[in-house]
C-alpha cells in the first residue's frame, strides 16, 4: 500500500561528487519498504515528483536512507534541504526484487543505479546469501558506498577512466565472475542492455528508470515494451524491477 507521508530529514551529507546521502525518518516506510522499491518525492513546487530508490531501511530507528545525484533542478534543490525539514513523499512505490535465500547473488550497479542494490544486498545477506558486487562509476570522485558494499562481501569498483578500481565498464568485470545463482542489476539503460546481453544465459533481475507522471500506474507515462513488443509494462507499478529478458531495453 502506498501512503502519502511526511518524512523528516535526519541527516544529509555529500558522499561523492554531486552525490548526497539523506536519512529520513518515517515509521510506515521504514517498516514496509522492501529492496527495489522507491520513494516519490515532492521537491518544492515542482509539477512532477522525483522517483528516488530506497538505499536502506532501519525499522528499529524508523529511518530510510536515500542516495541521489544532482541531475537537474529538482535534485539540486533537494540537496539544499536542511535537517529537520519534512519531505512530502509517496511510498513505498513499485515492486521489490525477488529474494532467494541462501543463494549467491551478483549485484551490478552503475552510478545512481547503485543505491537500491545496497538495501538489496543487506537483505540478501541477512537471508544467508553470498554477495558479490560490481559497481561502476564515472571516475574516482563519483565513487560512493564502497565500504558498505565491502561489508556485504566481495566488491569490485569500476571507473570509466580507470581513476579508481578496475578500468572500463561493469561488463568488463562481470565477465570474470562465474559463480553466482542470480544477478541483480540497476543503472542506465545502455548498461542494463549490455549486462543482460552478456548474462543472457543466466537468471537475473533488472531495475529500470523512466520519466514518470503519477508514479502509481494511472498515467501510462513510464512504460517499457515487453520482449515481444506486443505490450507495455508500467515501470512504476509493474516494475521498476523486471525479470531480465521480460522487457525490451
Amino acid at each position: 500500500m502506498i501512503r502519502k507521508v511526511g518524512m523528516k530529514i535526519i541527516s544529509i551529507r555529500c558522499i561523492a561528487q554531486d552525490t548526497f546521502e539523506m536519512i529520513l525518518e518515517n515509521n510506515f516506510i521504514s517498516n514496509y519498504a522492501v529492496p527495489g522499491q522507491f520513494l516519490h518525492l515532492q521537491v518544492g513546487e515542482h509539477s512532477l515528483r522525483r522517483p528516488i530508490s530506497i538505499t536502506d531501511c532501519d525499522p528499529s530507528r524508523s529511518t530510510v536512507t536515500i542516495i541521489f545525484k544532482i541531475n537537474g533542478q529538482g535534485t539540486r534543490e533537494l540537496s539544499a534541504y536542511q535537517v529537520g525539514q519534512y519531505l512530502n513523499v509517496l511510498g513505498p512505490m513499485g515492486n521489490g526484487f525477488p529474494l532467494h535465500a541462501n543463494s549467491t547473488a551478483l549485484l551490478i550497479g552503475g552510478g545512481i543505479g547503485v543505491p537500491p542494490l545496497y538495501y538489496l544486498g543487506k537483505t540478501l545477506r541477512e537471508m544467508g546469501c553470498t554477495i558479490i558486487s560490481v559497481l561502476g562509476f564515472q571516475d574516482k570522485n563519483h565513487v560512493f558506498y564502497e565500504n558498505e558494499f565491502k561489508n556485504l562481501g566481495k566488491n569490485f569498483i569500476v571507473t570509466n577512466n580507470g581513476s579508481y578500481g578496475e578500468s572500463g565498464l561493469v561488463t568488463d568485470v562481470i565477465n570474470h565472475v562465474h559463480h553466482f545463482d542470480y544477478y541483480y542489476s540497476c543503472g542506465p539503460i545502455p548498461m542494463l542492455r549490455a549486462v543482460s546481453q552478456e548474462l543472457k544465459e543466466r537468471r537475473g533481475y533488472i531495475s529500470i528508470e523512466e520519466r514518470m507522471g503519477c508514479g502509481v500506474g494511472a498515467c501510462y507515462a513510464c512504460v517499457v515494451p515487453t520482449k515481444d513488443g506486443t505490450n507495455y509494462k508500467k515501470i512504476c507499478k509493474d516494475g521498476p524491477v523486471f525479470v531480465a529478458g521480460e522487457v525490451k531495453l
Partner: protein, 304 residues
C-alpha cells in the same frame, strides 16, 4: 452536501469535481487512496476501437508550473475497457464519463456504440483534440466542419449525452464551440492541452520522444479561464472546465468564468488526494467568497 450539487445533461452530480481524462487511469490506482464514491464523476482515460500501444518513451516532461505529455492514447481498446474497467468503476456511487477517441469517423462511431450498450456509462466525452495522435485526431478538433461531423456521428451512434472536448490550439474557439453545439453536442469540455516542446540540452533532442506534447497544469490556467469565459457567453450548453486546477479556489474561478463542473488533471500527480481534498474544501471556499452553492457561482464572474 446539496450546496455542492450541479446538474448537467445526464449528469446529476453530487459535486462538481471529477478527475480529468488520462490523469486517473480507470480509477483503480486512486481507489487505494480514497473512496471514489466521493467524486462527482470520473472521466476515464481515452478509449479507442482497438488496443493502442501509444508513443515511445519519454512520454512526459516537466515545465515551469506544468508538464508536457505525449502518451499517445495508450489503452486496451473499448471492448476490454467495458469488460474490465467499467464494472470496477460502477461499484462506486459516482458518475462515469467515457472519453472516446479515434482516427476515423467510423472508429468514433464504433466506440460510442459500444459504450452506449453498457448501461453503466453516464456520458461520453468526445476527444477531438488530442494533439498526440497523428492520423487525423488533431484535424477533428481544429476545423469546425470536421468537429461538427464527428459530433453528429457520435450523437447518432448513442443515446448518451455527448460532451465535446475542445482543443485550445485554435484561432477561434468560439466558432468551434458553436459548430459542435449546432451539431447536437450536449455540453463542452475544455480545455485540452496546448501543444508544446522542450529540448533536452545534453542530448539536443526533444525530451518527449514524440517531439511535441500537450502542455497541462497551472501554466495554462489563464488560457483555460479565458476560453471558458468566451465560449460560455456564446453557447447555451454547459461546460466542464479544466486546465491547471489545483485547489478549491481555482474551482471557483472556473465556475465564475462559466463552467458548470470541473475536471482536475495534472494535480493528481503531485497529490493523489487532490480531488478528495478539493471536495472537502469547497464549502469553505464558497462561504469565504459569499456563495451559497456551486449553482449560485456558475457564470457569476462580473464582466461589465
Amino acid at each position: 452536501m446539496t450546496r455542492l450539487t450541479t446538474e448537467l445533461p445526464g449528469l446529476a452530480l453530487k459535486n462538481p469535481i471529477m478527475p480529468a481524462s488520462g490523469c486517473f487511469g480507470f480509477g483503480r490506482e486512486y481507489s487505494d487512496f480514497y473512496d471514489l464514491g466521493k467524486l462527482g464523476a470520473v472521466i476515464m482515460k481515452a478509449a479507442t476501437g482497438n488496443e493502442r500501444l501509444g508513443n515511445p518513451t519519454p512520454r512526459v516532461a516537466e515545465t515551469s508550473s506544468g508538464m508536457l505529455n505525449a502518451i499517445g492514447l495508450q489503452n486496451p481498446g473499448v471492448d476490454k475497457i467495458i469488460a474490465n474497467e467499467v464494472p470496477f468503476l460502477a461499484q462506486f456511487d459516482t458518475k462515469i464519463i467515457a472519453n472516446i477517441a479515434g482516427s476515423t469517423l467510423e472508429e468514433y462511431e464504433y466506440v460510442a456504440q459500444a459504450f452506449n450498450q453498457t448501461n453503466k456509462v453516464h456520458a461520453l466525452e468526445l476527444n477531438i483534440s488530442c494533439p498526440n495522435v497523428k492520423e487525423g485526431g488533431i484535424q477533428f478538433g481544429t476545423d469546425p466542419t470536421m468537429a461538427s461531423r464527428v459530433t453528429e456521428v457520435v450523437k447518432k451512434a448513442s443515446n448518451l449525452p455527448v460532451y465535446v472536448k475542445l482543443s485550445p490550439n485554435v484561432t477561434d474557439i468560439v466558432s468551434i464551440a458553436k459548430a459542435v453545439e449546432a451539431a447536437g453536442a450536449d455540453g463542452l469540455s475544455m480545455i485540452n492541452t496546448l501543444t508544446g516542446m522542450q529540448i533536452h540540452l545534453p542530448s539536443r533532442r526533444p525530451i518527449i520522444a514524440n517531439k511535441t506534447g500537450g502542455l497541462s497544469g497551472p501554466a495554462i490556467k489563464p488560457v483555460a479561464v479565458r476560453m471558458i469565459y468566451e465560449v460560455s457567453k456564446q453557447v447555451q450548453i454547459p461546460i466542464i472546465g479544466m486546465g491547471g486546477i489545483k485547489n478549491a479556489e481555482d474551482v471557483l474561478e472556473f465556475l465564475l468564468a462559466g463552467a458548470s463542473a470541473v475536471a482536475v488533471g495534472t494535480a493528481n500527480f503531485q497529490n493523489p488526494f487532490v480531488c478528495s481534498e478539493i471536495i472537502n474544501e469547497l464549502p469553505q471556499v464558497l462561504d469565504k467568497y459569499g456563495f451559497n452553492s456551486v449553482q449560485d457561482a456558475i457564470g457569476k464572474g462580473i464582466v461589465a
